[in-house]
């Protein structure tokens, strides 16, 4: 479904800040795969997701979705296939626009936007039904400005917007990292629900090893721009945090450096 082939990305080439963020990475996802991505800071997790989303072009290698080469496709054109939720809850929604306006924008993801009226009466019914799934009471606040919502509410709304028009691929980039633990758990639960109900293919970057183990059917670990571990199926469900730390040390030859990955 998604095929990443020998992708390399070097930031600031030729300067003292040169950084190989992705080092000849290859990865293939099957339909319905839900992959969690872990690794220490700067390992290339978010860079990998951004490369797929088209936030920048890769230096070499190819990216395919459903056998279509999207390597040189600009970000806004890839949006036809990809739904995204960002780490910062402010990034995924338009603060000055109403909840229903945000949803209507998301409804047309990857489609031609013409001179038809953006929101119809029938749409509102649909929006209410979808918002009710979040369990936050937002279905009664269609004409509330999104900027007035809390970070958690905005992130839940962003998640809904990412799946409102079924994406071929859902990219979750540490989308619960900026939320308090209770809110994070709720948003994760919603993510699971949308992914399983929609049979979506998804990648989720997380700092939290427990979450990485508990969610999805496959786990990859990254270090210094490379994928150093790729487990799925029963091997994955049998994983523990201790095993992951040990595997990290073995594969990378050093201790897992990030405390935040151990806590929580």
């Amino acid at each position: 479904m998604l095929k990443i082939e020998n992708v390399t990305k070097i930031f600031n080439p030729g300067t003292v800040n040169e950084k190989t963020a992705l080092d000849n990475v290859s990865l293939e996802l099957d339909d319905g795969d839900f992959v969690t991505v872990i690794g220490s800071n700067g390992a290339g997790k978010s860079t990998l997701l951004n490369a797929v989303a088209g936030a920048f072009f890769v230096d070499s290698g190819y990216i395919y979705i459903d056998d279509k080469d999207i390597t040189r496709l600009p970000e806004y054109k890839r949006a036809e296939f990809i739904g995204r939720v960002f780490q910062d809850p402010m990034t995924g929604t338009a603060a000055d626009m109403w909840i229903e306006e945000n949803l209507s924008l998301a409804m047309l993801r990857g489609q031609r936007r013409g001179l038809r009226w953006a929101i119809h009466k029938s749409d509102r019914e649909l929006y209410r039904i979808h918002l009710a799934q979040l369990g936050l009471g937002l279905e009664d606040r269609l004409t509330t400005k999104v900027g007035l919502l809390s970070g958690g509410q905005r992130q839940a709304l962003t998640l809904l917007m990412a799946v409102l028009k079924q994406p071929r691929l859902l990219l979750l980039d540490e989308h619960t990292a900026a939320l308090d633990p209770k809110t994070a758990a709720k948003v994760l639960e919603l993510s699971d629900k949308f992914i399983s109900e929609g049979g979506l293919t998804a990648m989720m970057v997380t700092h939290n090893m427990k979450d990485a183990i508990a969610h999805g059917n496959r786990l990859i670990m990254m270090n210094e721009g490379k994928i150093i571990l790729d487990v799925s199926g029963k091997d994955k469900s049998d994983l523990t945090v201790d095993m992951l730390i040990e595997m990290f040390a073995k594969a990378s030859g050093r201790e897992f450096a990030n405390d935040s990955a151990l806590l929580g």
Partner: protein, 302 residues
């Protein structure tokens, strides 16, 4: 009473500034870009209209072409900004400088007369009341058209572009194209205001646009202050912008009437706008509560 007699004229002229300010509103408020093309494109609109009408063209057609000329100017700024990576404010300044030459070439010299006594025009200071009614109709049609447009799928995507470009890209919106389009729409409206200004005052002048962006911003700010408490409806907000232009011009006329040295008027406008722009910043910096005020602020049930 000289001041009262001057009122219809001041309101008419203020409405022309108000139409221009609607153009400024589109870039400054909707697209979140400070576009200085305005100082040049309002003069372009005036120059094109003047030359075409004095050349014998129908005034309505001349206004349409003036508008297209303004859109071309916005297109240039848009290309400089999106395709050449130049910051919007600098892109606008560059286009504005280009337009100085362009406007001189259009007019052939620094100013041209467009006497209403010799040509058929839509508005003129010779018939203030009729002009006032026509300008009011212009404003209403323009505001309704913009209201309808920004309610469409494409119009909503333009608003989203200004509000959150990263989100817009992720939702498949072509941010660069929308910015170029917004700059074209804005400068088209500004040039339309320019063509009305030339007809109303009976001339076009290379200095017509100097400080226009500041007047536009003043109108936007005054308008916002007046109507923001009434309603956040788009029609009300745009009407507020026109009203802001009218209020600005009446104040301007009053200050002249009171005998202020007219050399100081531009200084006055700039200082007033600077203060109004600073007020929201000061409010945020010195009078707001800390961002993370209470525990559980982030909670889903907030």
């Amino acid at each position: 009473m000289g001041l009262l007699n001057a009122l219809p004229g001041a309101v008419a002229q203020g409405m022309i500034w108000g139409i221009m300010a609607i153009g400024v509103y589109i870039t400054y408020k909707i697209l979140d870009l400070a576009d200085l093309t305005v100082d040049g494109s309002i003069c372009t609109g005036a120059a094109v209209c003047t030359m075409l009408v004095t050349g014998g063209m129908n005034v309505w057609l001349a206004m349409l072409l003036a508008m297209l000329a303004g859109m071309a100017a916005g297109f240039v700024t848009g290309l400089l900004h999106t395709k050449m990576g130049i910051p919007a404010i600098l892109a606008g300044i560059l286009t504005q400088l280009m337009l100085w030459s362009v406007n001189l070439k259009i007019m052939g010299k620094a100013n041209q007369a467009l006497p209403a006594s010799s040509y058929r025009v839509v508005v003129t200071q010779l018939h203030k009341t009729e002009s006032l009614i026509i300008l009011l109709a212009f404003c209403i049609v323009l505001i309704v058209l913009l209201y309808l447009f920004f309610g469409t799928e494409y119009g909503a995507s333009v608003r989203a572009t200004g509000c959150n470009p990263r989100m817009s890209s992720a939702l498949g919106i072509n941010v660069e194209r929308n910015k170029i389009f917004g700059l074209m729409l804005s400068n088209g409206i500004v040039a339309l205001a320019g063509s009305l200004l030339a007809q109303y005052s009976g001339k076009s002048d290379i200095n017509d646009g100097r400080g226009a962006i500041v007047i536009g911003l003043a109108a936007v700010i005054i308008g916002e202050a007046v109507v923001s408490r009434i309603s956040s409806n788009f029609i009300v907000r745009l009407s507020g912008v026109v009203l802001g232009g009218v209020i600005y011009y009446i104040i301007y006329q009053t200050v002249i009437y009171l005998g202020l040295d007219t050399d100081l008027l531009k200084m006055l406008s700039a200082v007033v706008v600077a203060i109004f722009l600073a007020v929201p910043y000061w409010k945020k910096k010195y009078f707001s509560k800390p961002a993370r005020a209470k525990k559980g602020e982030d909670s889903l049930n907030a």
